[in-house]
Symmetry: C2
Subunit: 592 residues, 2 copies
Amino acid sequence: MSHPFRLLARRYRRHPFPYRRCYSVRVPGDGGGEGQSFRDIRTVADLKEWQPERRVSDVQVCGWVRSVRKSSSVRFVDITDGSSMRPMQAVIDKSLAADIRPGAAVRLTGVWHSSASKLLSNVESQGDSLARRSPIAGIQTPAGHQPSSNNPGRSSEQASAASLPPSSSSISVQEGGASSTTVTSRGQTQASAMAELQVSQVEILGSSDPHTYPIQNKYQTPESLRAISHLRPRTPLNSTLLRLRSDAMAILTQFFFNEQFQQTHPPIITSSDCEGAGEAFTVKSGAPSEFFRDPKYLTVSSQLHLEALAQALGNVWTLSPTFRAEQSDTSRHLSEFYMLETEMSFVQDMDEVMDLAQKMLASLASGLSQRSAAQELEKHRLDSRDPAERLAFEDLVDIKELQQRWRGLMAPTRWPRVTYTEAIKILEPVAHMFEHKPVWGSGLQSEHEKYLAEKIGYDAASDALLPIFVTQYPRDIKAFYMLQSQSPPPQGQTVDCFDLLVPNLGELAGGSMREYRLAQLEDNMRLHGLEVPTHRKARSNDMGWYLDLRRWGCPPHGGFGLGFDRLLSYLTGVPNVRDVVPFPRHFERCDC
Amino acid sequence: MSHPFRLLARRYRRHPFPYRRCYSVRVPGDGGGEGQSFRDIRTVADLKEWQPERRVSDVQVCGWVRSVRKSSSVRFVDITDGSSMRPMQAVIDKSLAADIRPGAAVRLTGVWHSSASKLLSNVESQGDSLARRSPIAGIQTPAGHQPSSNNPGRSSEQASAASLPPSSSSISVQEGGASSTTVTSRGQTQASAMAELQVSQVEILGSSDPHTYPIQNKYQTPESLRAISHLRPRTPLNSTLLRLRSDAMAILTQFFFNEQFQQTHPPIITSSDCEGAGEAFTVKSGAPSEFFRDPKYLTVSSQLHLEALAQALGNVWTLSPTFRAEQSDTSRHLSEFYMLETEMSFVQDMDEVMDLAQKMLASLASGLSQRSAAQELEKHRLDSRDPAERLAFEDLVDIKELQQRWRGLMAPTRWPRVTYTEAIKILEPVAHMFEHKPVWGSGLQSEHEKYLAEKIGYDAASDALLPIFVTQYPRDIKAFYMLQSQSPPPQGQTVDCFDLLVPNLGELAGGSMREYRLAQLEDNMRLHGLEVPTHRKARSNDMGWYLDLRRWGCPPHGGFGLGFDRLLSYLTGVPNVRDVVPFPRHFERCDC
């Protein structure tokens, strides 16, 4: 068997033409005589991690000015390109820095040097006396300026000034520099890497008037930032949350790819109005007649369509926008949100569905923990000194609880699983604690869910908050498509379903086995007061197509849906789900 | 610096609990005494590739019956689980096969044997005389039944029958079997692997009435299948197209991850009605008042929001649903479709944007060519013998042209780039060929695009169809946000934009540099008859927020958008874009 596509791909990969790409950071060509490839340094985050042995000139950095601190002869400028939570430092001679203002987009060229390159300097050159004399020179700051948290260590003004004017364009060992020392939040003294760009050339790519710029380098409340959602991603915390969101998508895609699940695009515009509950948005065109003949709605869940796809492809998943026209104004609800939904064919045991949910979440947490966005969100909460940064972190869930959440997500044991009936038995003795009495047959209130998650989910041995599965809810309070349990409790009929509960947030995911037998599904629909079409009519809004799935070759199957935004809120400790989506939509608010 | 998340992840990965997962195919435990791990065999596609040295019993396969061929004592059953275009063969004793009907969902248990295990049998056992005597025994078929294309080779009835009744439950070397030979479409004779499941146990998981089942194992026109979009993915071609779609998503995610682009979720419900062109769907809730206070729309493009995100994150991309209420009923238009859009900050040369587009598409084609869906779509067009399969393939673009397209996408050279003005000069001498006269200042008609793509894009040396970039269109026929060219031609003002054209399909992608200067953008808006808000008002539908992006630190930037469904149509040779999406929505049609 020949694979011409594959062969071509192999051949062509050997001869790629040089794609041009202006990364935000450019360092001089490959190797630079040091036997080290510089090509992977493409962003400020990469540059900050780079510790070349010698100073490197002709380094070019594009980014936005986050703050400027003045001294008599130089400006210390914090630069970000969105790749890291904290900026890098550029040192610019006063004469070059006239238009360097907070918010401006700039391109800076100069000499990159880190403490590593300075150590070498110390050996090879004179002028290192400052570093030896004053180990804490690094935390001296220009008079009248707050120390910034953004670089734990700062070169002293004198050292930086000494290295100006700019060096020649070849890599050179220069004088000056200071190793730096900083005091951590625990009060310990430690040496830390210091790195900065000594700038020889400044280009203003997009100017900024700092007096009107809405993103000041000071604390702004989440509420005030929500009013400027088009500028909000420029804050350090919000840009990091968006990078974590991107990481999460990539890791989930990789996870399902490895598990051989097919990623699908179920429809956004659908015929179902959410069983008439009135929570679906309607879609209209400008034309007087119905564009699609019948009224159509924005999807409230992709599950029914995923079932159709799973019956052809086996195992499927999607991460799709979903919509609810609920008028609830809470920190947990959005009118437009992303749902991660999966459906598996040939599954007879709901434990397999719950295992998939746990494996997926554990894999996600594990993957994220190796990426910079999640690392920064933890590390900088521990070492934060900048007042604006600290205040922003104070809006988040306590770091100790956040670490308990992550430990729980990555726990090496199966998460606790209790039936709804058992859960009611746990709640009954403490009924006095609740506003709503726990009664078999009624839904669990959010206060009940919270109690259960904390009571059952906390694992003292590992100090971890394990998510918990509550299974087999009463049939009458759950959806028509769920499979009836084979051994219901004496209290009444139940269905094979689960909710995944976590402390504080409540329901993170919900899943079930689906009723796969036609007659029983039709019975369920009647029980739930739904119309049962006798046979599918083309171009109608009824559920005939969904019943069709049971008519021919419907195996036992099940799946779950998970609120992606809510998950990110849980992972990051951001209390309000509106702050983990770039452009939140909810009742009466849809800016931009 | 400690990374508790990372450390936990490492530690926990060493002690995972055994997640239960019922893959559609199960083979006996790890190694099975043959020193080979079986654990990676999880689907029919995996099983078909598997060539164990000995027969393996206790193999369990879940899947759907695609077809049943009868002989006097056994049934040859084609089984699929959606993981491969062609099914695997199960041989079932007549007495067990009573409810085995096309469309049914089944679980089969039995002995897996391939030609490899048979070769070993030949050495160790008797009964191999058939294989030696009759090398073409494999294409003998039971009397009265068409040879199926699905397994190029078939074991003879005798051989299969000889291996029944089922073997013991341990791995055993059994008698019988035949190597097989098949005739390819080029008329050459070649040996091919033969493998089948000799079934000892049958479970019907979901029955099917073959007389009413709409997905018959025969040719059905694309039009007729579109009327049953909830069942259509069960056909071999459509399930393969959906797998290719899934592969494409994974490969693109990987590509942008490697390129350090952040994946984002721009909003679906937006304030912009597409500059009043009336092609946007309106979103309404059931409530009498406006849910979001002002009228809101389904997004027609994520570009404007991506620009806001790129100004914070650097480089961003999205693969998002996009909507147009166009009443056009063509093979290229959908009302709901997926757009892949990117935006790059700090880009001053549009060549970089075009290079990204080419690199992305080349990477996608190369990645797809190493995945089974794309390989099957090529290979089976060359070796197809089954009439239904051949007829389905005949609906697609000619295989020779398809291969030219893939060679073009993976070409080692930069794709041709011509300006609009040059394109007009190319078209003018052959103006008589066109219905519409090519005139500088008017848009290129689809007939012009087609001519240009074929004329400029065909590379005779490699027999490849290269996509072509047409750049710098006249300002007045392009969008208000595009950057004016610095050196326009004498004919008039142009903008720095490009269309990526391919033969037959026309425009695959479009991009531009964006006007990043406030005053010039306002001028452009007035030129295009758009209202220019003097300053941003909270909660209004105007473009104030978009102008804000130019107020503070807007660097030169650019990006492109690509119709994902149209791209899949181009890659697969499926002429109608409605056949590469699972649930197509277009004027007057929105089933399910």
